[in-house]
Symmetry: C2
Subunit: 136 residues, 2 copies
């Protein structure tokens, strides 16, 4: 369910954070669900347990997870997640969207190709929309 790339230049624990955030956002794992113990996930991915622990800690600090010794790590409910300063959050989101779109355009994707790609991924997060690709 979680996949990382050791060849990538982005740190492993950052990849892990992004993957877990994606799973939470998509609802694949929900509030109260347990995550695998650091040793198990580390073994599954072939990495060190500290690297997994680092990702769990980052997400715990961000308010998405809750960890405690002996009991494991569980997903927090959405209501108790501090999102931070609205202006800063918006800037950060704009920045990441901007980078992604620039990447797409520089890679040669057309506006329609990019829009289709985004619609597909939005459907996975928010559920299917009413106005895209209506079947006959």
């Amino acid at each position: 369910m979680i996949s990382i790339s050791l060849a990538s230049d982005v740190p492993i624990h950052d990849q892990l954070v992004a993957e877990i955030r994606r799973l939470i956002a998509a609802g694949t794992i929900a509030a109260g669900d347990e995550l695998p113990p650091v040793r198990q996930l580390a073994a599954d991915l072939g990495i060190n347990l500290n690297t997994v622990a680092r990702a769990y800690r980052d997400l715990t600090d961000a308010g998405l997870l809750s960890s405690s010794r002996g009991r494991g790590t569980v997903v927090m409910s959405g209501t108790e997640r501090p999102t931070g300063e609205p202006a800063q959050v918006r800037r950060r989101i704009e920045s990441s969207i901007s980078s992604a779109l620039s990447d797409a355009k520089l890679a040669g994707l057309s506006r329609d190709q990019t829009r289709d790609l985004i619609n597909t991924m939005m459907a996975r997060l928010w559920g299917p929309s009413c106005e895209e690709g209506a079947s006959p």
Copy 2:
């Protein structure tokens, strides 16, 4: 025209790369245009010239810029930019879009808010669309 944040946790040269990619994708700077000398841009941003040089080198390696001593750094034309393995490129783009959308949803943005934000930023890159927010 280029803005970076020293407080951010993302490396300065990576921020610079993202900013310049954005400017090229948006057409703000086009093939043949000269970029500021490393010393000038470094002074403007209050950073070391090596950091700017690193960003220029990364983009030169990526085929977006062309640098040579004494002559400066210019933007390459789109036709001579190698984009890499299509499958890898698509994976990378999907990954960055996925992260951005997950970020948006976890921050509490609705589907429509996110779509509006994306439409706005797409308009900046590909030009205004025909089907969004048509004025009366």
